[in-house]
Amino acid sequence: MENFEPIIVAFCCQYCPYTAADTAGTQRLCYPANLKIIRVPCAGKVDAMHILKAFEKGADGVVVAACLEGDCHFETGNIKAARRVSYIKKLMEEIGVEGERLEMVMLSAGMGDRFAEMATEVTEKIRKLGPSPINLNTSSQKQEAC
């Protein structure tokens, strides 16, 4: 468990959070490599199925990163994403997986430092929680996902 390196899938809206990740890189900020970023056209496009499949295929944590409130290019995609994340957290609790493994964040494109901070915080949180209970019994599946 001491050497546990969580796999965290981060669905990042291409407008702000994905650019924030770029900004973090441009600023030469270090953040854990545990985050596997998936660029999406809008956080509102991240379906419940995408989140569940990430966990099913071996993710220990999932982040949905959206633009700040009022800044969504599609007006309310970020608000819809936040509602969906709350719904999936409840479903995860029903499954028996901690809802804290799913995180919703909102960032602007200029918040490179905040992106790096968030990546560190989320990685530490998941590291403390340990491997996803699904992976404990399906380690072979996780290897496939990697």
């Binding site: 099913e56 479903l91 029903e94």
Partner: protein, 222 residues
């Protein structure tokens, strides 16, 4: 539409626990519209069940299939090629669909994945409300197109009762007094005299009081 809600996952897990191969069947009609049992919900439930069992170290094989309708035998036939390969079927359709599958396949257990709720309409995205109880003798023509049977907490034929306050029902401030709505609408239509007509006691035999109901169209029935 007929509305439904997914059952608690805990209950569904217990239904399928004895089996290794499940056919999870969705329905493209009402339960798709009310986000309870369409293709997307089939995918979500399959994933949730797989994870719940994976947590216990068990691998469960779930085949996903969504039929155009589950309340017609023609569509149920589409399950035939798949039924041999599974130990049990779980249906995400309303109670009609579950029973059609049970009727067609005598030797395989069928479980409901949703609780069928009521005949309702969309109030707004994500909110569905009861509108009809299928009483079999529609009186919407007398009540301005608003149903007191489905929407009055007491199913009063001649309301409102003393529990109506500021247009709300006494059971909850979130529930409209339907007789207030009926009065407001009749007034807006200039049909206040309709309100003065006493609706006689209802014959509930058409509502199911006379036993299970059936419609026979002789020109169509073979």
């Amino acid at each position: 539409m007929i509305t439904a809600e997914r059952k608690p996952l805990e209950e569904l897990i217990e239904y399928v626990r004895p089996y290794d191969r499940i056919l999870l069947v969705g329905c493209n009609e009402c339960v798709t519209v009310c986000a309870a049992g369409g293709r997307k919900e089939v995918g979500l439930l399959a994933s949730a069940l797989k994870m719940a069992f994976a947590k216990e170290g068990k691998t469960i094989d779930i085949k996903e299939l969504t039929l155009e309708r589950q309340c017609d035998p023609e569509y149920i036939e589409e399950l035939v090629p798949h039924i041999e390969d599974v130990d049990a079927v779980m249906s995400m359709a309303c109670g009609c669909g579950v029973q059609e599958i049970a009727k067609r396949f005598k030797n395989i257990p069928v479980f409901p994945a949703v609780n069928t709720k009521f005949m309702g309409a969309s109030e707004q995205q994500g909110i569905w409300a009861e509108r009809c109880q299928g009483c079999g003798d529609c009186l919407l023509g007398l009540t301005g197109g608003i149903c007191p049977i489905a929407r009055c907490s007491k199913h009063l034929m001649n309301g409102p009762c003393g529990g109506s306050t500021n247009g709300k029902c006494e059971i909850s401030p979130d529930v409209d007094c339907v007789w207030q709505l009926i009065w407001d609408r009749l007034k807006a239509l200039g049909m206040e005299d309709r309100y003065e007509e006493i609706i006689p006691a209802k014959d509930w035999r058409t509502a199911g009081g006379g036993g299970p109901r059936k419609i026979i169209r002789e020109d169509l029935a073979e």
